[in-house]
Point group: C2
Chain length 201, copies 2
């Protein structure tokens, strides 16, 4: 085929595609707060939440972050967001379960973190709430899933929420508007590359 013919065929295809896309955009009229869930075993669940957080703050939205497992303040992302905005950021975990080795302490930390989360889920002046690594609280039975889902459902109608963590329970996926499963294809760590500042924390 000549280049002119290729160009013409491309243009024809793209005109048809544009009609389909434009119709889909026209059909998507609802405006409301959405519940995003980033789950799966791959890298990117929390990072994607923080990327949306940057986008939201750049659009003038207000936001709050509650971290359910991490117990160390001063990560790169927290430092950056605090420098650049008046974000509410709460590091409320006790660290990985294999570090604490204490089921009751982990559960108590999760309950306290949820109380903090509920403050924001009841506050219509907060446009986006990030609940980082929340799913582990359900996986390990630290929090009651039904009660948490009820709090999420009762939040202000325009408020967005992002939940991250492996193994999101089915009821949470059912309640969500957008769900991404981040699957591990390969990871540098498995090839012997250390976790490095800026990339992993």
């Amino acid at each position: 085929m000549s280049d002119d013919a290729k160009d013409a065929r491309h243009q024809d295809r793209m005109q048809r595609k544009k009609a389909v896309v434009d119709q889909k955009i026209a059909d998507a009229k609802t405006r409301r707060g959405v519940l995003l869930v980033n789950t799966g075993i791959g890298k990117g669940k929390s990072s994607a939440a923080f990327g949306v957080l940057a986008r939201a703050l750049g659009n003038g939205l207000s936001a709050a972050v509650v971290q359910f497992v991490k117990n160390r303040s001063g990560t790169g992302e927290e430092a950056f967001f605090r420098r650049a905005s008046d974000i509410r950021w709460h590091v409320m975990g006790e660290g990985f379960t294999w570090e604490t080795q204490d089921r009751e302490r982990d559960a108590a930390a999760a309950r306290k973190a949820w109380e903090q989360a509920r403050v924001y889920l009841a506050d219509a002046s907060i446009d986006l709430v990030v609940l980082d690594e929340l799913t582990y609280a359900f996986k390990y039975g630290w929090l009651d899933l039904d009660a948490a889902l009820a709090d999420l459902a009762a939040r202000p109608p325009m408020q967005h929420v992002i939940v991250t963590g492996r193994a999101a329970p089915q009821a949470l996926i059912d309640a969500a508007d957008t769900v991404t499963d981040m699957d591990l294809v390969k990871h540098a760590f498995k090839a012997g590359v250390a976790a490095m500042p800026g990339m992993e924390f």
Copy 2:
């Protein structure tokens, strides 16, 4: 089982898990720049890149972003990162293929964007280079994959690169250190929810 027995069993399991995790961390000694690829049809590929970008900047790293498809400056994330850092940010695309409907114009834009990317890939003072939506340049044949892989391989040894976009070619996945496939479980847009500022742009 009594609560005490449960607690003891939990502690025992977690002690063994900690030993495994600690060994893995001890084995991962290599320190070098990594190539991350975020691909798949789900939401989160670019967001995750921008989340790592926030983390990197928070750790004092320097960074540059080249966007290969987007043609509109002033997105939420660009606004936020510009406000908060001295980041280099280049919006160099011509928009979606079905908007331009012009194959040659799309290809020329991609070649120009790659020339900009190469400047950073040759500059050891840039710690992280984000090549957003680069994969489409290979999918549509705008760029030569082998030449691009050679440029990536020749970059400074401590420089990190993140490539995003659907349908990453196998040779790029082979060259990468960490690859996440972001799979679409569900998306609010398909349920009729409009793209909203802060969430989608």
